[in-house]
C-alpha cells in the first residue's frame, strides 16, 4: 500500500506517537523508567483497507524520571520508529504497535529496581500514599509506576480520536509483599480530544524480573447514565487475556 506523507506537527501524527509511547511503557517501563514522546520527525499514513489505518512514525523519546536538576529537562533517549495500526472494523480493538528505538534507549535500572524491590519485600508494613499536599521525593518511584501502569490502559483505550495522558494519581496501596508485589492505584487519565477526565482503578504487579503488569482495571464513570461506547469495564482474567492477545500480534 502506498504511504501518504503526513505533516509531523499535525494531530494524526502526534496521536499515533502517543500510542507508541504507551506501548513502550508497557514493554520497558518501571518505577525508574517512564517514557514520553516528544516531537514527531516524520510521519506517513498507509490505508490498510479492511484492516484499518497504519501510521509510520519517527519520533524522539524522552525519559521522564531522571530529571537531573529541575523538572524542566527531560532525558533524551534518541529516535524511535513505530508502526501503529488502528483497526477499522472494531474501534474497540486496541491499536497494534511495532516499535524499535535507537541503541541508547534501554536504560540500565536494575540496581535501583533491585534495591527498591528488596526494601519492599523486607519491610514490616505495606506501603501506601496519596497525592494530598507535597509528594515526598522518596515516593517518586511509585508515581512513575502508576504512570507506567496507566499506559497499559491508555494503550488499550486509544484510537485515532483520542490523545491520552495520565493526569493524576489519587492514591496507591500496596496489597502484598509476595514475589510479585501487588499495588492498587486510583488514577485519573486525561483525554485531550474530549477534554474528559477518566477515573480508573488498577490492580498491578511489579518485580524487577517480571516487569509491570496490570491485572485488573475498572473504569468509574462519573455519570451512571452516560454511555461511553469506546470504554469498557473489565476485571480479572478477562483483562489479562485481552492484553496477552494484543501482545501476540506485535
Amino acid at each position: 500500500m502506498p504511504v501518504e506523507e503526513l505533516d509531523p506537527s499535525h494531530y494524526p501524527a502526534t496521536r499515533a506517537a502517543k500510542v507508541a509511547e504507551h506501548f513502550i511503557n508497557t514493554r520497558y517501563g518501571s518505577p525508574f523508567a517512564w517514557f514520553g514522546s516528544s516531537g514527531v520527525k516524520k510521519a506517513g499514513l498507509e490505508d490498510m483497507g479492511v484492516l484499518g489505518t497504519k501510521y509510520h512514525i519517527e519520533f524522539t523519546l524522552k525519559e521522564m524520571t531522571r530529571n537531573v536538576k529541575s523538572s524542566v529537562i527531560l532525558y533524551d533517549m534518541g529516535l524511535c520508529s513505530a508502526e501503529v495500526l488502528f483497526h477499522r472494523a472494531d474501534e474497540r480493538k486496541p491499536p497494534q504497535v511495532q516499535c524499535t528505538c535507537s541503541g541508547a534507549f534501554q536504560v540500565n535500572t536494575s540496581a535501583e529496581e533491585e534495591d527498591l524491590y528488596q526494601r519492599l519485600r523486607n519491610a514490616t508494613s505495606l506501603l501506601s500514599g496519596n497525592s494530598v499536599g507535597h509528594i515526598d521525593p522518596e515516593m517518586a518511584p511509585f508515581w512513575h509506576l502508576g504512570g507506567v501502569a496507566s499506559s497499559f490502559i491508555m494503550l488499550r483505550e486509544s484510537n485515532e480520536s483520542t490523545l491520552l495522558n495520565m493526569a493524576h494519581i489519587d492514591n496507591f496501596t500496596q496489597m502484598t509483599k509476595d514475589a510479585q508485589l501487588m499495588f492498587q492505584y486510583d488514577i485519573l487519565l486525561h483525554d485531550m480530544v474530549s477534554q474528559e477526565i477518566l477515573k480508573w482503578k488498577l490492580l498491578l504487579s511489579w518485580s524487577p524480573d517480571g516487569g509491570v503488569k496490570v491485572l485488573e482495571a475498572e473504569w468509574d464513570p462519573k455519570c451512571r447514565s452516560c454511555e461511553r461506547a469506546h470504554l469498557t469495564v473489565t476485571t480479572g482474567i478477562a483483562a489479562e487475556q485481552e492484553m496477552k492477545g494484543d501482545n501476540n500480534n506485535v
Binding site: 523538572s71 524542566v72 493526569a167 485531550m192 474530549s194 477534554q195 452516560c226
Partner: protein, 397 residues
Amino acid sequence: MKWCHVRDVLDFNRHRGFFIDGAGDGVKFSMFSSAGRALLLLLLLLLDCAADRSTERNYEYTKYHPMPEISAWMQQMVEENPGLVSSEVYGTTYERRDIMFLKIGVDQDGVQKKAIWMDCGIHAREWIAPAFCQWFVKEMLLRYKTDKKVGEMLNNLDFYVTPVLNVDGYMYTWINESTRLWRKSRSSPPESCSCPGVDLNRNFYANWGMIGVSRNCCDNTYCGAKALSEPEARAVTEFVGNRSGEILCYLTIHSAGQLLLMPYGHPQIWAPNYDELMRVGQAAVRAMGSVHGMEYRVGTSPDLLYPNSGSSRDWARLIGIPFSYTFELRDKGQFGHKLPEDQIQPACEEAFEGARVIITYVHDKAFHNRTDIGAAGMAAALWTSMLASCLTTMLLV
C-alpha cells in the same frame, strides 16, 4: 519601576523608628544644615528605592495563588501605579462574582487608545494561565522604564489583561483534590440534564455548536443550551465587541500542549490573513523555543489538535480583530494541567517572549507601518530584555 515619593520615604523611615521630623527619639532633622538635609534626604530616597516594597517586585509570581490573593494583587497594582494601571469590573459570573481586568498603559488624558486584549483562566484547571497573566503584567511594568520598545508600546497602546476570566471555576478548583481538574463554568444544568457547568470556550458566537462540541451537559466540551448562555462569555463579548475597532490583537491563554493556535476551529474555514498569522506565529514559537529549548507548534486547531467551534479566539477574529491566538502553555503530558510550581518561571518566561513577538509586530504594523520580522528584530528584542533583566537585578541588590 516606580517613582519613590518623598512622603513614602518619610513614612517608611518613621515606621522603622528613624524619625526625621524632629519628634520622638532619633536623629533630629533640624540638627543638619540645609545642604546636609538635602543630602540626607537624597540618601534616604536612594536607600528606599533600593529596598523596593512595590508589589510588582515582591509578590510571589512563582507560586499559584487563590482568587482572593489575585484580587488583592490587582488592587495593589492599581494603587502603586497611578497613571499606568487601572482596573474595571466588566462582568459578573454565574455565582455573582466580579470579572475584572487590569488596564495597563500610559493614561493619555482619557483618550481612547488602540489596545491589546489578553485573558487567562477561561478553563478553571489551567492554573499556569492566570499565573502567566500576572507574570505578564509584572514584566510590562518592570520594563516600562528600561525597555524602549515596551515603553513605546505602553504609550501608544492599552493592554487589557484579565488574570482570571472563569472566576467561579477557578475558585472551585481550589477546594480540594477532587475539584482540582474542573474545566467549565459553574452554572446550573438545564432541566433535562444533571451536571453543572459549560465549556466557556465553546460558548461564544462563532459557528456555535457546529463541531468539536458535546450537547451533553455532563461533558467537558458542553457548549451550553445556546450561544452566550454564560455570563462570562457575554462579559467578554460585550466589552471587546464594543471596542472591536480599537482592539488590534486578542490573546487567550490556556494550558496544556505547547501550542499556538490560530483561527479558525472549523476545518473548512480559513482566516483571510492566514499567511500573516502563520508568519507571526512561527516567529513567536521560535522565540518561545529559544528561551528554554521547549518545542511549541503553531497552526490552526483542526490541524494541530482537534476541530472546535464557539471559541473566543474564533469569535474575536470573526468580528474583525486581525490577530487572534490561543496560547497553550506547558506541558505535553508529563504533568498536564497540574504543572509544578518550579516550572512557573520558565513557562512564563518563554510565553512572555512569544507574546512579545506578537504584540510588537501588531504595534509596529499599526504605528510604524512595519511588517518585517527579521532575525535582527528578534535579536534586538532578546538583547533589550537581557539588559532589562540585568538592570532590574542590579537595582534589587
